[in-house]
Symmetry: C2
Subunit: 333 residues, 2 copies
Amino acid sequence: MKKLINSPETVVKEALEGMAAMHPELIRVDLENQIIVRADAPVRGKVGVVSGGGSGHEPMHGGFVGRGMLDAACPGAIFTSPVPDQILAAMRAVNGGAGVFQIIKNYTGDVLNFEMAAELAQAEGIEVASVITNDDVAVEDSLYTAGRRGVGVTVLLEKIVGGLAESGASLEQVAALAKRVNEQGRSMGMALTSCTVPAKGTPTFDLGEDEMEIGIGIHGEPGRRRVKLAPAADIVEMLANPIIEDLGLKAGERVLAFVNGMGGTPLIELYIVARELARILKGRNITIARSLVGSYITSLEMAGCSITLLRVDDEMLRYWDAPVLTPALRWGI
Amino acid sequence: MKKLINSPETVVKEALEGMAAMHPELIRVDLENQIIVRADAPVRGKVGVVSGGGSGHEPMHGGFVGRGMLDAACPGAIFTSPVPDQILAAMRAVNGGAGVFQIIKNYTGDVLNFEMAAELAQAEGIEVASVITNDDVAVEDSLYTAGRRGVGVTVLLEKIVGGLAESGASLEQVAALAKRVNEQGRSMGMALTSCTVPAKGTPTFDLGEDEMEIGIGIHGEPGRRRVKLAPAADIVEMLANPIIEDLGLKAGERVLAFVNGMGGTPLIELYIVARELARILKGRNITIARSLVGSYITSLEMAGCSITLLRVDDEMLRYWDAPVLTPALRWGI
């Protein structure tokens, strides 16, 4: 295992300390509760937006904490759900009196623990609503999930819903937009190589030198099928066509196109993937209204990519374009 | 070789097509000349800022084209200098009548070809000035360079000088600030794994499972020494201390701290590196005035990192903070 770490046990804590040291103007880190909170939280009268999940997917979620996106993130151990007390601490820290909105990726542990934290928060008088993202078209159930997994749409949803919450919207309005974004987005990923969880020290799975995994999960859990390595053009067909069909995208529609790197894939390759995606969309007369290209929801150092398409409406575009100031995404401020 | 590409011959061209498809509001790509130009170029009365170099270091430089940073970038083949005609085409495309400023990394081929392009441009009546970045403290000469290599400072310089040029400064003012930024910045990098140039198909160098290369170049060229893998804390000492000493940083001074990923290293590890760097700087009573953490000057899929420290003054901070709108760096717009 070749990693820039000190020891497998301290990876998450030390990365949080690094974030705190580098972005003091944007975020505060509460190491005892293992949460990241925007520097000016709680914002009075604003819905507090909270997300979280296992670590190892950076910048998601901690890198998205700040003005116009998340109010707090609670990172668990690597690929492990945050615990209810941790989530509750995050909810308390961002409760400005207008309620707290939870963004939960559909993994069994995450869903259970966020629900438990919601009950505890409600018992304290905090109003709570939530969305469970489940955009991965690759598999119906998986090692970590009943139903579809929550992946790339989560990033887009956190930006769009965070923008709406920043504008002073109510908890009901935030929940309604979140539901719509999740319904209108689909994703699928693939891997060229495995990731290695630090505490384990060996690759999560083995792939031959001429093999790739189509439909991979963000913890390296199995996808749809293992096939021979193929040109980028063919790989993107394998990812994009199931998304387009599942979403029922038709000629003349508009999407936000998100080409995501899994952590170990360089940007030059992601732009080749983007080229192939643009070609497929153009062939179907679907317009790319906005785009995002980079490694935003990762699986440690896994090489590979995922594609997310979100069918956008004017409200989504307005809050996608709205100012954001976080460690990993920023514009307009 | 496991890469998301179609063929080794088309990597650069297809990545440029992907950039054009994803960022039409920011940039134009001229495929015939293989240059990337900001969408509204040439901007009348503004100094045109041009950079370039071998591909394989993305997002540098093409990802930095846009308002407040570069007016154009000319990417060569992978790890290969752009040719004079290509650089000249970029200079012509951004000449708004106030002269063109070249930002050149110190590699022999780059320096020669940019100089030749400058002569051709001057013969056409375009005023030209330039800076050659040479911030790498690792080695004095290398496989590609006489003198020190130009690395991480280039990214910071492109942002700061781009901000000044956007404000309407003269070519002389731009050149003066560029000179100062280059003088006040130093870098050093390391690798855990090699990169693989697509046309070659095999790793550029071999590193044992328990080895790393300290002082690596951004083309995988040899560094200071090959040593046993060590904890992040020790690695950062090996990188940061030579930088601090070479720069003569003293207690009470301020820096812009840049922790850069080499392409295959995930963000969670870069934040552990950032933690160690912050600890070392704090121990010397050096203040982190600004920071940048991410993969901005890369070596294809190499795993590793580099550290850059820039001793900042108020003018540098003003133009670092100034609005920027490019595919890879954006804020304030």
